[in-house]
Symmetry: C2
Subunit: 154 residues, 2 copies
């Protein structure tokens, strides 16, 4: 069989993960649509809310997201007045982030919608199963994967 069949490809962990992410992403996005927020934005607001005026770097690290990507993603949220940034008192290189009052309100609104999706999901999958899946995903996310760089000897 020159042409590897589907099951062959479905062995790609990355592709499988992305596929599931697209699928689930749409579901959560739909659920949040009424709030005007995307799933990612909701997650970002939540993360910022949960932390105490975290620095950009801290947030990026928590979400395993590129720092510049975080910056880009934050822009529409700042533009819409949900988030604001301010310089750190001690280190002028550092920029901290926090929700505006408006952002807090929006987050509360979104959490209600999110709960619906979350509940739906857990109902279908089972709370325990879902917890296990999240644990597995966190484990994967935190794996210290690294391609054996050509010259690790240097």
């Amino acid at each position: 069989m020159t042409k590897a069949q589907k099951p062959g490809f479905s062995r790609c962990n990355n592709a499988t993960l992305r596929r599931a992410a697209r699928s689930l992403g749409r579901f959560y996005d739909d659920a949040l649509a009424a709030s005007g927020l995307k799933g990612t934005q909701f997650g970002l607001l939540f993360e910022i809310h949960a932390s105490s005026e975290p620095t950009m770097g801290t947030v990026a690290e928590a979400l395993i997201m590129d720092l510049s990507a975080l910056g880009h993603t934050l822009k529409p949220l700042i533009r819409d007045g949900y988030v604001e940034t301010f310089a750190d008192k001690d280190d002028r290189r550092v920029k901290r982030v926090r929700l505006t009052p408006r952002g807090e309100v929006k987050l509360d609104e979104a959490i209600k919608l999110w709960s619906g999706a979350q509940q739906q999901f857990e109902e279908k999958v089972g709370a325990e199963q879902a917890a296990k899946l999240r644990a597995a995903l966190d484990a994967v996310a935190d794996l210290d994967l690294e391609m054996p760089t050509a010259a690790p000897s240097n």
Copy 2:
């Protein structure tokens, strides 16, 4: 606790999934870097290769991807000469896709790189564990989730 703590948010299945996807995505992207392909492009080439001149719709469905998104993602691959499209003989609305010879070569090249990443991953996670995770992800992707639309009564 007004401010829900981390563990609270980490309960979001969607956020957890995306986070893992970003993390693993970078790993596979790094591994494929030498080929000039991103993980997504690799997956797309593979899917097309594995099918028999599939239609855009078929591919989009297989990857649970928006049809227009597929169109966009395909562009750079067409531009670089790895993929080509052609009209279906019987239904002129339908557009089919196939790899060009160059695309086949590039795919072979990429598969070698991909194997390295895949192996690394399975070594760390365990082949069985990985298979289980993929199965779980496929199950999630294929869930028939749907928010109880406001007016399902209509």
